[in-house]
Amino acid sequence: MIDKRVASMAEAMAGIRDGATVLMAGFGDAGAPHALMDGLIEQGAKELTLVVNSAGRVHKAGEPTSGVARLIELGRVRKVITTFLRENSVAGRLVREGRMQAEVIPQGTLAERLRAAGSGVPAFFTPTGAGTLVAEGKEVREYNGRPCILELALPGDVALVEAWEADRWGNLIFRESGRNFNPIMAMAGQLTIVQAHHIRELGTLEPNRVVTPGIFVNRVLHLPVGDPKLPG
């Protein structure tokens, strides 16, 4: 019987190695796998390459950071690939000091590189970024009269994903804008780990509504963690 449910966070995090590339979904607080990020902090893997829409924000002195920002602050991140770095002053400092690498890329290119990794497309051309700093070192070729740059697929060793509903096959349904990067990171991850608010009986998720079929999912942890919060 296929049963991708795991009983504990330790089981969910098992086998994530130092040096791994970890894809972390979420946009704002919606659809972000916060509990799994905390689990990864606890698990201890280091020298990570993080792929995440935003490098997080550093709060005022004395307030604890969390998630991506906490991993960075703890020095566990070798490199971050992201679209927003500005609000994390610690990350900016680490980059200036040469203690962390940062690759800031367009959000659509990030999404497309992830989808490409999940779909067997090793590289593709795009006009986004052509003629800008993003194009540095990249092959340029003209299509439809516009310069396009060659971008590479961005696979992950691990993907951390948040879903609203899941079943034991790993089928996933998301909530509203909580969908965001979750489906494409699930596709792009070699080991895709899901925190799900609700576990449903197999056969009760309507087949036309399933967004991420279980083929893209390895582990499901049942964690009803409540509603997303606003940034504060």
Binding site: V95, Q107, G108, A111
Partner: protein, 216 residues
């Protein structure tokens, strides 16, 4: 106003942009003043708003706490609503709409716009470490039309309407129109053309606040 004209405020600029968006268009409104423009599009004028994080048919902020859905945020992570006819997609499908040329219009904030349509709106230095790009480059390249909304000059009086951008580019030759607190300018093969100015402002006064040559 000793100068004889009154620059638009943020709301005024947003309203001015909104007035030009026709019914039936698919539109992405960038962070800042562009987002405000949504409030000035009457509900009965059906404009379909896109948000990069996977929303098509975005509605206004919730009218009351009862309407708040914490799972429904826009690209600025503000809580919003969904209109009848709206739908959700994942990030790659959302950017397929952007990059595939399906948006009629994108309205972006800007630092600088050049007379060749170049846009700089994401970074003020090529060596900055704390960069952020977000969806700006995808939107600037992908939408059928790109309008920019910005103050006509920087806070210390430097021009933003330029012959060539000095900041790192967001995209080359993408802008078709600029809305500032002083004027509306079309980017044409012959450079900037003024199509509207705030009452009391002369072309000469506008030119004095611009680096690029303006025509009318």
């Amino acid at each position: 106003m000793s100068e004889g004209f009154k620059p638009l405020g943020r709301a005024g600029m947003a309203a001015r942009v909104a007035a030009d968006i026709p019914a039936g268009w698919y539109v992405n409104l960038g962070i800042g003043i562009p987002t405000l423009a949504a409030d000035f599009v009457p509900v009965e004028r059906e404009v379909v708003l896109h948000s990069e994080n996977g929303i098509l048919g975005m509605g206004p902020a919730p009218a009351s706490d009862n309407e708040v859905n914490p799972w429904l945020v826009n690209a600025s992570t503000q809580r919003v609503t969904l209109r009848d006819g709206g739908s959700y997609v994942h990030h790659a499908d959302s950017f397929a709409m952007v990059r595939g040329g399906h948006l009629d219009l994108c309205v972006l904030g800007g630092f600088q716009v050049a007379e060749n349509g170049d846009l700089a709106n994401w970074s003020q230095s090529a060596t900055e470490t704390g960069r952020q790009i977000g969806g700006a480059m995808d939107l600037a390249v992908g939408a059928k039309r790109v309008w920019v909304v910005m103050e006509h000059q920087t806070k210390d009086g430097q021009p933003r309407i330029l012959r060539r951008c000095s900041y790192p580019l967001t995209a080359a030759g993408c802008v078709s129109r600029v809305y500032t607190n002083l004027a509306v300018l079309d980017v044409t093969p012959d450079g900037f053309k003024v199509i509207d100015m705030v009452p009391g402002l002369s072309l000469a006064e506008l030119q004095a606040r611009s680096e690029a040559t303006l025509s009318s």
